[in-house]
Amino acid sequence: MIEIILGLLLGIFVGTITGLIPGIHINLVGGIAVSSAAVLSGLSPIGAVAFIVSISITHTFIDFIPSIFLGSSNEETGLSVLPGHEFLKRGRAQEAIALTVIGGLIGLIILIILTPLFIFILPRVYTYFNNVMFFILIFISLFMIFIQERKFLAFIIFMMAGFLGIASFQLQINQPLLPLLTGLFGGSSVFLSIIHKVKIPKQKKIPLRNLIRNKKDYLESAGAIALSSPLVSFLPGLGSGQAAIIGSTFIEENNRKNFMVLLGGINTLVMGLSFVVLYSIGKARSGSAVFISSLLENMSLNNLWMILVVTIISGILAAFLSLKLSGIFSRIIVRISYRIISVIVMLFLISLIFFISGPLGLIIFITSTALGIFTSLSEIRKTNLMGSIMLQTILYYTPF
């Protein structure tokens, strides 16, 4: 019991740090944590599992802070950069973070509701969904393109991102998603902030009770989270990015608040469900689930309950931490030149990519940043850049 509590607290601490580092993906964090024998040697397998679960869930809450304040991103938070930045420029970054936190908490509630369904129904329907996934993805991609005014350009950008994604994965470099998505969503926004000399206004403090009043909107977001996340949590090749695209089709267009809630919810729910999926059908669908499966040879129902309890507790604590940290960031961000912050973030991302993915990673980063800039300047929605993952996922599921 003590080991579980120790793992949980240690996980919250490490997850907060990794969440605050721009561009860091949870799979990378899990890999570092597991390979770090010094961290885990003092813990039993069950304590180590609590540690991994706690890092992962905490990271899903905290990693919106660098996305919204600094414009950096990863697979899970990529789509939050643009709307998040709009909140920041209107002095409402804290509200944006609070909305993702509310989304994360809604995600935890949905996780509790969906767990019994995943345990009893998923083993029976898993194959069926696998067979129709190709058609679902084609439909979503076409929908994404056709809802835009400049359909042809949206299609071209979708395909360019798609080919870039395919090339990046075929290069056999370490963590190809890091330069790819960091450039498409983060690098391009940071670059435009440097060029356009973005001035950040004083950030407003919005009481949480004002946000909680809006229950009808949250119901819409909760429905979108519940409909989009389960599908991607058990099928291979899919993740939070695709869930965000699917989910955004269920919410009202241009409703940025609901979109932030949606992203926060999906991020946490997809991670939580990956643990349930590991028990239900024995498949690891997230980096963290892979590490858990290597620690627990046969995952029992008791193990799953422990994981869910750690998920809920670390989620609630991470929610408080996220709100506290967003307040601190709000005060700091207006005191320092945003241009200098952007330059530092850009240099950090370049160094991180070079260190992890090597020189070819840098070529991917430059290309994806350029494509992200072109998309922003052409006023095409950045969701089309998810073609970088969608196109190869469609090819993966092609039945013929």
Partner: protein, 97 residues
């Protein structure tokens, strides 16, 4: 003078083409050496081969290969590509020894 929008388009298009070119060439590997052993499982085939270049034993996979006669000890010229961390055989030529 070109605007940022045009520069970013040119940069992204040329970057994609360069990366596709590198990935296609980087992905293909020419391996030759003696086959140590091999396993036929239906249409799938696994060959362990000692590389003539550096003596390292390479494991090569063929997903849709016809049943092979005994190739143990034979000298093989193979063109393979990487897929999910596996080396997949595209072309194979069997020499006598």
């Amino acid at each position: 003078m070109l605007k940022l929008k045009e520069i970013s388009l040119i940069l992204s298009l040329s970057g994609i083409l360069i990366l596709l070119f590198i990935s296609q060439n980087r992905n293909i590997e020419h391996i030759e050496g003696h086959a140590i052993n091999f396993t036929n499982k239906g249409n799938s085939l696994i060959i362990n081969l000692r590389s003539a270049e550096n003596g390292i034993i390479e494991t090569l996979h063929c997903m849709d290969c016809e049943f092979l006669p005994n190739i143990e000890g034979k000298y093989l010229l193979i063109e393979a590509h990487y897929e999910n961390d596996k080396k997949i055989i595209d072309k194979m030529e069997i020499l006598d020894d």
